[in-house]
């Protein structure tokens, strides 16, 4: 690994790893919104005591309104990295799934429950219920998402611990340091607040530009605070995790292979901080500040994802996987995928345009229309 990622890798491996990373970043974007959004709503619900004031603020209201769709988007977007990981690290990924067994199987029912709870949170009905019930619902929701994140973290660590697999199978015990797991979780949870702030920032900016009533505008300082605190937490946790890692992953992370991506992630964090600082000062959500934060967020997400892969690559016999990747690249269908992906992207854009141009202001008329006469 003496070249910058992905240049030192064989062509098929580079293609599959990059597709995995790009789709993983897309999945993370939506997933962060839901994870951080549910944690924020939990805090807002608990903090506000017996009133529903905070939960009706634009930030909380927007999160409540959009989280079901964003969870759907996260699940849909998550299918693609789930597919490509089966090409890149099939043996490791499958073995980790099998070793986790029922502990892995509960992820799906937990997500189903959390999904319905999001719809409940979106409804007005929940907010008429007693305080304790409201808190229980939001707490159950956010705990579910944290639990799913925890399961993925354990799955990832397990896939990288091939030497321990036979022992884990027979004893059922997972040999991971609690500190390492917590630090990894903090990287994702902290980072999720930064990503969520950017997306909600755009949503509220749109709302700000379409509503003259200033009461509908959320405080950009709250978003800026969450984003910067999240970034600081994530970076400190990441530094701690890398410090705990062995010499091999550290040398790959800070070597030629991924050092540019460490710099990319840090530059992205700085850019996000500048973007939010500008908005903090003006106390307004502005296109320029949000654009800086968005670019920074994407840089950080991609940079961190590459660093994550560097650590994984150092833990497995990655060169031993190249023949599999080459063999997979020989099957047909890539052309069909590219053509359909382009066409579908265009149709998705058309759908959004259709909605923005095809709306009228009045609600639908439910009166019975006259049947046309011949």
């Amino acid at each position: 690994m003496n070249a910058i990622f992905p240049f030192g890798l064989p062509h098929p491996t580079a293609v599959y790893v990059n597709l995995f990373l790009l789709t993983f970043v897309l999945h993370q974007t939506f997933m962060h919104y839901v994870l951080a959004g549910s944690l924020y709503l939990t805090w807002a619900t608990i903090r506000q005591g017996c009133t529903t004031h905070l939960i009706e603020q634009p930030l909380a209201a927007t999160l409540r309104d959009w989280m079901p769709f964003l969870l759907s988007a996260a699940i849909t977007a998550g299918v693609a990295p789930l597919l490509f990981i089966q090409i890149v690290y099939q043996y490791q990924f499958y073995t980790a799934n099998l070793l986790l067994w029922w502990r892995w199987g509960v992820v799906v029912p937990v997500l189903i429950v959390a999904f319905y709870l999001l719809y409940l949170i979106k409804s007005r009905m929940l907010w008429t219920w007693p305080y304790a019930v409201r808190v229980a619902v939001v707490l159950a929701t956010s705990s579910s998402f944290v639990f799913v994140g925890f399961c993925w973290t354990i799955n990832h660590l397990l896939a990288n611990s091939e030497a321990n697999w036979p022992d884990i199978y027979t004893t059922g015990r997972l040999p991971f340091s609690v500190v390492a797991v917590i630090l990894r979780m903090l990287v994702w949870i902290g980072g999720s607040f930064a990503t969520m702030s950017v997306i909600v920032g755009w949503q509220l900016n749109y709302r700000q530009s379409h509503h003259s009533d200033s009461s509908t505008v959320a405080g950009p300082r709250e978003l800026a605070g969450m984003s910067i605190c999240g970034l600081v937490t994530a970076m400190l946790a990441a530094a701690g995790y890398v410090a705990l890692s062995g010499a091999a992953p550290r040398s790959l992370v800070f070597g030629t292979f991924s050092l540019p991506y460490v710099l990319l992630a840090i530059s992205g964090a700085i850019l996000q901080t500048i973007g939010w600082s500008l908005q903090w000062r003006s106390n307004r959500l502005e296109v320029f500040g949000l654009s800086l934060s968005t670019i920074g967020s994407l840089m950080t997400l991609f940079g961190v994802s590459v660093i994550r892969e560097a650590i994984r690559i150092s833990a497995v016999d990655f060169a031993g996987l190249y023949p599999r990747h080459t063999e997979a690249a020989n099957v047909g269908g890539f052309g069909v995928f590219v053509v359909v992906a382009v066409a579908v992207t265009l149709v998705i854009a058309w759908c959004v345009r259709l909605v923005s141009t095809g709306m009228h202001d009045v609600d639908k008329d439910y009166s019975i229309p006259e049947r046309p006469t011949a």
């Binding site: 043996y91 073995t95 999904f115 027979t170 997979a328 099957v331 047909g332 992906a341 095809g358 709306m359």
Partner: protein, 474 residues
Amino acid sequence: MSDVYPINDYGPLMPGLVMAGVAIVHVFLAQFAVGGGILLCYFQWLAMTGREPHARRFVEGYFKLLVLMSFVIGALTGVGIWFTAIQVSPATIGAMVDNFHWLWATEWTFFCLEIVSGYCFYRYHSRLNDHTAMTLLAIYAIASWMSLFVINGILSWQLTPGRWLETRNVFDGFFNPSFWPSLLFRTVVSMTLSALAACVVTNMMGSLDREARTSLINRAAHLLIPMVLMPFLGVWFLAVMPADSRSWVLGGSPAMMLFFSISIGSSMAIGAYALIGMVLQRLYINGATSSLMLMLAFGATAGGEFVREGSRKPYSIRHLLYSNSIKPDEVALLREVGCLGNDRYGLRQDAQYPNDQVRIGAKVFRRQCSVCHTVHGTNAVAELTGSWDENQMRINFAKLQHTKPFMPPFAGTAVEVESLVQFINWSGSMRPDSWPASENPQTLAQIADWLSEAGTAPGDFAQNRKRTTSRQHE
């Protein structure tokens, strides 16, 4: 040799049943979503042309159900199938992903389009003009059907890989012999499910009077008319199935025949009621009856999926992989070196086994039998072999593919056959603390002869017929 994965013990449940449970729920909901798209386009058109006064209200109510059921449980059980398939047979799902990942990625793009167009409609339908609403619904319907189109090619390849076996061309595998009958059959099933769900939804619309509900139900019943094609599509599917698979369904395997009959019986009951009662006589169907019909359709789906999965035996991918994840071309080698050479996983609760021979037997069971059998539970070997004496067990295991042609050949040495026999006998004898090891060289030599006689090729289901023919010639 193929990778050996850790295998989990599901107690009294066989892993295949767990897979079937998740798959049936997902298939049911996914087909409901596909048919739902077609149904909603039809009702939107009825609304736009003024042919059905309450169609617009129906579209909104129905789509809400679609989002709450299909977009949540349907989508997540889709992910769940992947996780379950990995648990049950990582080699099978791995082979499918390896060979069709670009087409699977193509399906993912349609899935994305389905979600975006669906949510655009769901979120903004009350403010959309009719033309936009219709366009979004049409995009949703096309995307969801295309998703079915792609996944159908991959799934049907497992049973009938067709020319792919020679050419290894992805499109030969995709457009395999059972692709079209399976696709058309599933499309009709999707329309049926959506129409039956429409009857349930209509009955839940309390603001409509009986006349309005009857009108909507009669409109929805139009999507049940294609059910008349089901017998022809079913016969077409049976005709393109491999002869041995067809023979399991048509009597060779009582369980498969039973499920096949349940599926046909349920479908016929729904079809007859739908066509005579709802289409011809334009009867009203109340909430209880429509729910019952939907449950019957669930039963038919479950039976159909069980048959589709079971009829692949002894393969999970025909001619490529046996159901126990051993490749046909590996059997000869495993007969020489044994099936445990590259199995690095010990036994859980190792101390409970009385000797090393039983331990080896437990590992052989885990590797070769546990995907379809339990020791004491569903399809239990202790019960299936309960009336056999030891020699019967030895010859039947050594000649497994001839004992039952839907079983794969035993892929191991004579020592491993004997260990398996001892493990099953020990398990069937309430697992005593001590168990004598069976180490008679003559027994092992006899097993080796039987293994040699059995050969390494899969069983020939038609050999009985061939024997009869040869006797007639004599």
